[in-house]
């Protein structure tokens, strides 16, 4: 047996080579064990901590947004739970993105381009969620959350969304919230805003963002590598709900104002209009309507790009609050400034008579009165009551542009009123200094005339104009108009009570304003405003017809109509000697070429609704298309 084996050649095995190989095995494995020992036992606790940190993160708990009530406690904005669809692009493979987006678009009935734009516009990182759709119905939300496999990166969450009780009625006041954008996020990240957060974008939602938002809480949650929450470990800080707002707005007044404005706009075919109602004793805004408008619920539900673009393209700018965010020439309503100034600067007395004519001339230029016959010798009551242009050309001439500007500023023109709505513009009060700075030339005398009657360079916002008349009505206190009456904490305690805010006590004797109030009353009693005098309540005010734009084929300019009126506290028997009025109403109708003054009809209708006057004094004939200006 062994002989047989021995005749075969010795195998090539070598003890030393086998031993070396074995040694290499032992050394290599020892090295691996050593490293394993180092990682798991020497460095283990540090790495264990990292592993815990890896999966626990602090996540924000959104705070319930504050609610908004009207002055009577009627709920205007509520939070309702809705399904939202979000996407984390890091979890969406690039190759399958077109397919996933197409599927989502079909499920959500959205344009794939919109979804792509949303994903690409994500202000955060690719690991952050992007809101694809809000207010998704339950059936669709279920479909999407169950189709996990076919929709990588897509998540369905339940979130609160804003529900605006009245939609378009209050949109211009309340505004809306929308996804925070990249630029905002850069600034607000440190304040705890999340990449998929919502933020007030317009109206009070924007102005009172800080109060409404509340303070987000935080919880430590366990998550996996792709950031999905696997469980909540503990709440670190509770979310603190936002404060609620109680407005000065009265829904009833708001509805009446809208009704009056819509009636006239429909009747005439006017595209833009504003009605504002204020309490001149406090500066509270009780109604503020700007048309055209939009439905803020569309935004709350997540407006489509197409619908948003349509709103942006509308030439009458429904997203703009024309009461505060746009300025227009005030026309004859501005004669309040020249009249007050002339009396206060003692250029005239209440009994001074001034000759009014068909026109005045400076050099070779004729400055026409709207009445080509003039009104003869006129005091302030006659001049203001008939709205004589030549009367106020002369008042402006006596004052000079800079004094006229001074009195305009006393009434609050040329500066924002500070109303608590975003985006307020200042208007323009022309003075020599202003024109030098803006146009590089001094004011020409003819321009002073124009400024005296609210034409030329004069532009005002409707809120400025009504605020000026509130100062007239209350005897010389210029208040800051306010929309939010009180701020109420989540516990129901008032955090900020209502307090009228005085902008300025006008430097004008009360007697001058009493004269101007009675002059405003004469506008009504002289039947310059037709049958307004027949109402069972006493109204004083001023109409305005402000030309703008380009002349038509007959050489006539289009014009806007204004009326600002106020009633005494005792609306039936009160007198305008006292500054007791608690109701001022302004109406503005853009491009309203009618036979009569539309704005006056709007205010008249509003007063009928406000005071529940059964008899209808409206004069629809005046709302027929026409132009009471002669060609000149």
């Amino acid at each position: 047996m062994s002989a047989f084996l021995d005749e075969r050649p010795r195998p090539i095995r070598s003890v030393s080579r086998f031993a070396t190989f074995g040694l290499i095995i032992v050394l290599a494995v020892t090295g691996l064990i050593g490293r394993l020992f180092y990682l798991q036992i020497v460095d283990g606790s540090r790495l264990a901590t990292l592993s815990v940190q890896n999966r626990t993160v602090l996540e924000a708990i959104p705070a319930p947004r504050g609610l908004i009530y009207d002055r009577r406690g009627r709920l205007l904005v509520a939070n309702v739970a809705t399904f939202v669809v979000k996407l984390r692009s890091a979890d969406l493979p690039v190759d399958s993105r077109p397919v996933v987006v197409a599927r989502l678009a079909a499920l959500l009935k959205k344009d794939p381009a919109d979804i792509n734009a949303t994903i690409d516009g994500n202000p955060g990182s690719t690991f952050d969620l992007v809101r694809i759709a809000s207010d998704v119905d339950e059936a669709t939300a279920r479909l999407i959350s169950e189709a996990d496999f076919d929709l990588p990166g897509v998540e369905v969450a339940v979130e609160a969304r804003r529900q605006y009780a009245d939609g378009p009625l209050m949109s211009q006041i309340l505004g809306y919230t929308g996804p925070v954008n990249g630029d905002q996020l850069k600034v607000l990240k440190d304040e705890g805003y999340l990449p998929d957060d919502l933020i007030g974008k317009a109206g009070l939602e924007s102005k009172y963002e800080a109060e409404l938002r509340g303070i987000y809480g935080s919880e430590s949650v366990e998550r996996d590598a792709s950031g999905r929450k696997t469980q909540v470990l503990q709440t670190v800080t509770e979310a603190q709900p936002g404060d609620s707002l109680r407005l000065t707005i009265d829904t009833k007044h708001q509805e009446d104002a809208q009704k009056a404005l819509v009636w006239a706009m429909r009747k005439v075919g006017i595209k833009r209009g504003v009605v504002i109602v204020m309490n001149p004793q406090t500066g509270e805004v009780m109604a503020l309507v700007s048309l055209p408008t939009y439905d803020n619920n569309d935004f709350a539900r997540g407006i489509s790009n197409a619908a948003f673009k349509k709103l942006l393209r509308n030439p009458d700018k429904p997203l703009l609050n024309h009461a505060v965010q746009a300025h227009y020439p005030p026309g004859s309503t501005y004669k309040l400034v020249a009249g007050t100034g002339a009396l206060a600067d003692k250029k005239i007395t209440p009994t001074t008579k001034v000759l009014t004519k068909g026109y005045l001339t400076i050099g070779s230029t004729k400055y026409y009165d709207w009445n080509r016959q003039g009104f003869g010798a006129c005091d302030i009551y006659c001049g203001f009551g008939h709205s004589s242009d030549t009367f106020f050309f002369q008042m402006a001439g006596k004052l000079g542009i800079d004094r006229l500007g001074y009195w305009a500023k006393q009434y609050g023109f040329g500066a924002p009123t500070g109303i608590d709505l975003p985006g307020e513009v200042s208007g323009i009060v022309p003075t020599n200094r202003w024109k030098q700075a803006a146009l590089g030339a001094p004011i020409f005398p003819g321009e002073t005339y124009q400024a005296g009657i609210g034409q030329g360079y004069d532009v005002v916002t409707p809120i400025q104009l009504i605020n000026a008349y509130t100062a007239l009505a209350n005897g010389g206190t210029l208040y800051q108009p306010q929309i939010v009456r009180e701020i109420v904490g989540p516990d129901g305690n008032v955090v900020r009570p209502f307090e009228p805010k005085v902008l300025r006590d006008m430097k004008v004797p009360g007697s001058v304003l009493a004269v101007m109030r009675n002059a405003a009353r004469s506008t009504v009693t002289l039947r310059h405003t037709y049958n307004l005098v027949d109402l069972p309540i006493k109204v004083a005010g001023k109409s305005g017809t402000a030309e703008f734009g380009l002349r038509d084929s007959k050489g006539r300019l289009p014009f806007h109509s204004w009326f600002v009126g106020f009633v005494p506290k005792d609306e039936k028997n009160g007198s305008f000697d006292k500054a007791t009025s608690d109701l001022v109403v302004l109406a503005f109708a853009y491009d309203s070429r009618t036979k009569g003054n539309v704005a006056t009809e709007i205010v008249k209708y509003y007063l009928q609704l406000h005071f529940d006057i059964k008899k209808d004094y409206r004069l629809p004939d005046l709302l027929k298309r026409g132009n009471f200006y002669q060609s000149n």
Binding site: P9, P11, R13, F21, I25, R35, L47, A48, S51, R55
Partner: protein, 386 residues
Amino acid sequence: MGVIRAEPARVTDWAAKSVGAAWRAFDLQLTTYAALLVAIGLVMAYTNSVEDGTVPLSAGTTFSRGLMWAGIAVVVFVLTTVFDYHWLKTLAWPLYGFQLGLLVLTLAIGDGVGGSARWVAVGPLTFQFSEIAKILMIIVLASYLASREGKLDSLASIIGACLLVGPPLILVMLQPDLGTSLVFGGILAGMLWMSGASLRWLVLLGVGVLAMIPIAWTYILRDYQKERLTSFLDTNPDIQGAGYQLHQAQIAVGSGGIVGKGLTNGTQTQGDFLPVQATDFVFATLAEELGFIGGVVLFTLFVLLLWRVLVTGWRSRDAFGTLFAAGVASMILFQLVVNVGMVLGIMPITGIPLPFVTHGGASLVSMAAGLGILQSINIRQTRAAW
């Protein structure tokens, strides 16, 4: 007159004796250690399947596929054990051609991540032919070197071996699969060493390879390969980018501690922080869930297995057996060190599977074939066991 009793030979007796002898020569330890490693692999596949959130036994999970491949591996093991390994020497050249064919086929029709060609679909299964190529390479090299017995200390033998390894190595590199081509190099080095090749020439060869590195670095390696190769050296790695895998793997390993977090409790694994945890990073899952003790058990099994492989080589009466064992041992050791070293952050990231443990059909099947051939060598030696 006597009666001649003619009795037929008792075939059953002979067969029983033969099987009995074979069974006594069969290395039960070798198979046991390998089976335990495969079992650990299946446990890891199970825990990774739990992580996927699926029922582990349902079709298509890592675990059920692992079970299926383990079944196939057993069949392959039995077939190769029964097969007389001496025939392999005869078949060496056809096998070499077959090996090259597989690799060319992979390049031609293979699929992979990001434009690479590594897997070939065979029916419902995907197959990484380069795994099969490794075991074929060992057969071919062993038979070549065995044929040069007596002249093994000559330079010609070394050059011949290198020329044989060259074409498959380059074909794998072209896929591109840097890791597997390095395994070819490891196999070559280990087998040359055990063949008794001249130390002088081996050292020279080693120096030559080292000299090649800068050239390969500049002209052959792609940027991502360089990044992966060097990211473990980076002391301040980009843990969100190239260093992410490594960072997460080390957190997984380190947080395992002495006894681990328990099976299916690994937060790194179950939380999906670990990339490719079911395949190349399976050791990270093991270290996280079974801890230092689990790791040491795994290493012990590998050392025991390697010991039995070397014993087989030592017992072999012919050079082919010795060299084949050397090749298998080199391959297992190389892959163990590179794979675990990668997870532990002391080796570059290369896509090399952990033998027996990594889920991956071709790797397991080729390992089973290797062990089967080793058993075939064992049971066909007439000398008593060590």
